[in-house]
Symmetry: C2
Subunit: 617 residues, 2 copies
């Protein structure tokens, strides 16, 4: 209650501030003849986590959710966000004068529809073209063509209003050895050029940060939890240009680049470079990953010179997704150590809950600390989710230093966490029983475990997409007339982003959603769940490697290998909800957990505990 | 051996005949300035079964397979067919001088590639444009544009050479009552016009025979096993034109058409009609279902008048696929009677095999006879497949009066069959044990039964396509590192074609393959199998109705209702290959079979037998 009052006061105080900021923005809009100004939630590369520098929409509206677009006209401002954030946005924007537009609600226009209906013929729409993808920019062009709207996308008005704006992230880049990567930059570049030739292109503009990191065997630290540097790459048949902030370039990086034939250019030079380059053929790009400003610089110049551009999915995505032997070997080792750390955490949690003071946040801190001591630790692969009781039903819940629930010796704690290490990026979820649970919870927990194990255990033909397999994990949840409102699985990078495409395990296909045939060497998560609002949330997540099995006249059979080895809490498993085959699979998995993890644990009492946790049922 | 010799003699005798026919064709090609003449396997509407009138390719090559395209130049002739027919085509075309092109074999050009490589600039390609789809015609246009090839598609040269050609099929049309159809022509037409408006079209050219039958509540008899008449429909906002052979129009049909506002035109009038029609807006058509001649008449005239055409999937396909309440009620009754007939057949087969003379063909005849006595029987929905022992491993095997195997009291007989009745079209497969079988067969048979029952028993969300569910049926086969090289299921018409789209149950998606969200009221087959070349073939096929279940915050749940009730042979089931849940599903299904079918069987001994066949295991 106390905290609520404080927040509400803070909100009132800040609302005047927001109004002042919007007034300053409108004055700038007036200076540049901009009638509507749009601020989405993105950095220049559509990264999953935008740094503080990019929090323009938050600065002008006070709304801090992970998805939202603010549009401002001279006498109106509107915020578009999705169902996860309706309540939060309303509360945070109270008194700012910003109208909330509830996306997907009946009768609520999309941004483009709103602009079509409200902009007058010949007016000007402004936005920073670097934070809007070429795809969205093209849609705006199409949708507003009838009204002859002009675009002003070369101005970042926030830069002129936001005086104490945080700096653009700028951290040192580091070089990975070829031994660690399993393939040199030269070899990867040669593969990329083969694809460029197949597409009959002479140049290739690559803007996706993790793809550039993968290709160059470099890593950075400019995006939270993603070991990537802000950069662009431009590839021709005989040159490779890398655009990065010069302050990020260490001596080691400079020397590596010289040796490797990587021409270093300043990050900001990308636009003039594209405008001055002599195009001697078609240029490859991926409309989903190039921002609008960069896209226009490329397109307008290339077409002005009489050449064309070709939109294709970045070929690097598939190359990066299929891990090589070195990567796989390292990933297996890293997951084993990470699993052992998680086992220690579960032991600590189950042993201490109700005995020592413990909150969602302090539990997360304890786990993060265990990971940070592992060899080769770089950073968390995403902010640890530690959600107690009903909090676990909120899929985007994040306990913080200030807002958290106490962990009591009843119900369950859901912990979704992972780390990035020299040798791999991990991701794992366990839901851990701390005391009394209902039979409903047991039924739900068992269905989730059965689903996870059925997907992990299935045998399938090469040619399958995730949508062919999703029902293996989701089926047991559907059998209860329940669903989880997300995919079952995503790809994971190698010392890179924890969410990586193009493969996934989903059932519903949305237009434009990327997808790929499951291929040996890919890794995917397997994370079914049950979420009951106001009551409980369960998720069990293992990471799987796609592996080749028998090849015969019917085709190449594939299966999954486990990467994750941590006990699934038997206190919440009820055999009456399982088929004998599921029980066998659980027992076999648990035996593997013990055999693989016990050797990494010295303490006799934890080993004994692990033996008990992984007993056959 | 005797039969082989006779065939080989016949073949030698006929080869001269083929050469003479090809010479006559070449002479006509010369008359019309045609350099290459192409003859595919199709009627004017791309029906599944082409009548004798359309067997032009057979006439000029002697090759009788269900798929093949013959191309003839002045000094060469080539036949393209697929792997199913390589051996047969070689044998049948011996001595004809026609070269076999094995489709999909390495290094073998496609027809279009062959023409690109061998036709000279400005030469003329001839074909009867009525037996080639607009889609294929457009591809030819694209592929041969560089060589400035002219097309002559208005001549059916076969008509001028084939003197004793069978007549175009021409059988009387009949009218179904609105009571039997559940929806009147007027109501269906009104639905179609709504879709025409949504597509902003003023006219609609519909060429798919079963769609026209569905829409008009008429039926015909011009295509084997498909109760359809050869026809075209042209729909405007205030008129409906039906093009049929006038000899097919009975007094009842004429009176029904007059009453319903259907303007009858002669079948051959479609081209002049399209060429003389005044188009007052866009015309809807489906490039997959309109033949090239008709397409060009529409396109050239409409565009000549300054209007355009719009290619969309025929909207009638989805309307026809989702059965209405009347149709579903009738379908359930028809399937029950058809199931009872199948039960009688299985009883007869298992009781008499080895005791009376029996062949694959005579067994099929016995079953066909049982069906023909059922109320409302119209015809078989496809030629009965009756395949004994290793023959069942050949998916396209068909025993005939002359070529068949003897049925012995060992191994199994696979019988895939169905009928069209007033009230529905059926399709069902059972593989029936006649004596000793191996443990391998038991393992395969059990996996197939388990797969069929798992798909039939699954619960899923609205939004699923067949590809999301296929693994439920196929998974148990994949678990054995085996596959069946076909889809798991297809849609089925209502007193119409046994193969109907757009829905299906498949895992692999080929470009252009039609697909649809599974929707309550659709019916689909569920027919996993195991086929071991030279040894045995197993298929168990039930037909399922998509039905609505619980609707809650997670969405609309769906499940399947069984339509087929016939025992799955317990002699080939081994519980050791099943989970208890599968055993329960089998027992529950068998109990339903007995409860529903026994009341339709008077004979005490057959009922007792059925009780035993459907016992719980």
């Amino acid at each position: 209650m106390y905290r609520w009052m404080k927040e509400s006061e803070k909100s009132k105080m800040e609302n005047r501030k927001i109004q002042e900021r919007l007034a300053a923005l409108r004055s700038k809009m007036n200076d540049y003849g901009i009638d509507y100004y749009m601020m989405p939630t993105s950095d220049f590369h559509n990264s999953e986590y935008a740094a503080d520098f990019f929090k323009v929409r938050e600065y002008f509206s006070n709304f801090t959710g992970s998805n939202g677009t603010l549009v401002v006209s001279r006498d109106w401002a509107g915020m578009w966000t999705d169902g996860r954030y309706f309540i939060q946005a309303e509360r945070e924007m109270e008194g700012t004068g910003v109208t909330l537009y509830r996306m997907m609600d009946e009768g609520v226009p999309t941004i483009n529809e709103y602009l079509q209906q409200n902009m007058q013929d010949g007016q000007c729409l402004g936005f920073d073209g670097r934070v809007i993808s070429a795809e969205i920019g093209e849609e705006l062009e199409d949708d507003l063509a009838d009204k002859k709207i002009t675009f002003r996308f070369d101005r970042d008005l926030a830069q002129e209003v936001w005086t104490d704006r945080p700096a653009l992230p700028c951290h040192e880049i580091y070089v990975l050895t070829d031994e660690l990567c399993g393939k040199s930059f030269a070899q990867k570049l040669s593969d990329v050029r083969v694809r460029m030739k197949e597409y009959r292109t002479k140049a290739y503009l690559l803007c996706k940060l993790d793809d550039i990191m993968w290709l160059t065997n470099l890593r950075g630290n400019d995006v939270e939890c993603n070991p990537v540097a802000l950069c662009y790459a431009f590839i021709t048949m005989d040159a490779f240009y890398l655009f990065v902030q010069q302050a990020e370039v260490t001596e080691a990086v400079r020397s590596y680049c010289e040796k490797s034939g990587i021409v270093l250019k300043n990050y900001e030079e990308i636009i003039p470079f594209l405008q001055n380059h002599k195009y001697d053929g078609k240029t490859l790009y991926d409309v989903r990953n190039v921002n609008y400003t960069t896209y226009r610089a490329l397109k307008d110049t290339a077409e002005g010179q009489g050449t064309t551009i070709r939109n294709e999915k970045d070929p690097t995505a598939m190359m990066k997704a299929v891990k090589n032997e070195t990567e796989l070997k390292n990933i297996h080792e890293v997951y084993l150590r990470d699993s052992a750390a998680l086992c220690r955490f579960i032991y600590w949690l189950k042993t201490n809950a109700g005995k020592i003071p413990m909150t969602e946040y302090s539990a997360a801190m304890y786990l993060d600390e265990l990971r940070s001591k592992l060899p080769g630790y770089i950073e968390l692969s995403f902010p640890t989710i530690s959600a107690y009781g009903a909090n676990a039903a909120m899929m985007h819940y994040e306990a913080t230093k200030d807002v958290y629930s106490e962990v009591k010796p009843e119900g369950m704690l859901l912990v979704d966490s992972g780390g990035t290490y020299m040798g791999g990026t991990t991701d794992v979820t366990r839901t851990i029983v701390l005391g009394r649970i209902s039979d409903d919870i047991r039924r739900h927990f068992t269905a989730v475990a059965v689903g996870m194990l059925r997907l992990a255990g299935c045998n399938f033909l090469y040619g399958c997409y995730g949508r062919n397999l999703d029902i293996m994990a989701r089926g047991p949840v559907w059998e209860m007339n329940m669903d989880y409102k997300c995919g079952t699985g995503h790809g994971i990078g190698y010392m890179l982003n924890v969410h990586e495409g193009p493969q996934n395990i989903r059932w519903a296909m949305r237009p434009g959603l990327e997808d790929a045939v499951l291929t040996p060497g890919m890794i995917v998560s397997d994370e079914p769940g049950v979420y009951v609002e106001g009551s409980h949330g369960i998720r069990t997540e293992n990471i799987l490697e796609v592996a080749a099995g028998e090849k015969n006249g019917d085709g190449q059979f594939l299966h999954f290998n486990q990467l994750t080895y941590a006990p699934i809490d038997l206190e919440a498993i009820d055999k009456k909800y399982m088929q004998p085959g599921d029980v066998e699979a659980l027992n076999a998995y648990h035996e593997q957990v013990y055999q693989k993890v016990a050797p990494l644990i010295e303490e006799q009492e934890i080993r004994a505990w692990l033996r008990e946790q992984t007993r056959a049922i």
